[in-house]
């Protein structure tokens, strides 16, 4: 499946772009994570990496649609 994935903060720096197009095996958030951690190993060094789908934090077993807004959320540091 093909997905558009956006990223903020240090995740954007690691991806090298605000948005990337990824073709991954599988259609769950866990499959996306597996793909990211092998293609962008620096993501594995972060304190945490959450995936937001359509404006909510997503669990690993969530099924992704190609039209979803998928965003990588590295450790937040507001305030």
């Amino acid at each position: 499946m093909k997905y558009k994935v956006k990223a903020f903060g240090i995740a954007r720096d690691i991806l090298g772009a605000k948005e990337v197009n990824l073709e991954i095996d599988g259609n769950q958030v866990a499959d996306l994570r597996k793909h990211l951690s092998s293609q962008y190993p620096a993501l594995n060094d972060l304190n945490s990496l959450l995936v937001a789908v359509n404006l909510s934090y997503a669990e690993d077993d969530l099924l992704l649609q190609e039209s979803d807004e998928i965003v990588l959320i590295p450790p937040v540091s507001g305030g």
Partner: protein
Amino acid sequence: MTARKKTMIEITDKPIDVQKIIKTASTQAAGGINVFIGTVRNATKNKNVQRLEYESYESMAIMEIRKIVDEALKRWKLLGHAISHRVGTLKPGEIAVVVAVSTPHRKESFEACQFIIDELKAKVPIWKKEVFEDGEQWVSAHP
């Protein structure tokens, strides 16, 4: 004497007007307004911070702050609240975030205000990068 709740949540790239935030959270039924003002510190681990660069995933940040406020509304009698978070480039001393809540009595105003800022810092998709003379780092990114 309206019972309408006063509420505001914003992410802004302009300097935050603290008086406006306080006024927005104020109601005549309140016995107190509690305000937290978060400012940019000039040093981290003895290194001088030249500036902070804030960014947010704005649409989700607003939704996450709203969830926090909804939780606060279940726990305390909030009569009004106003929350503003700045993004963009900030210098030491500048205001990054303001949380104002009004409640009938002071104890719950302290508790609700602390709850909202603590949860905001832990959950809301906003990030800051510290820029030093000799480098930069995303805050909290690495162990």
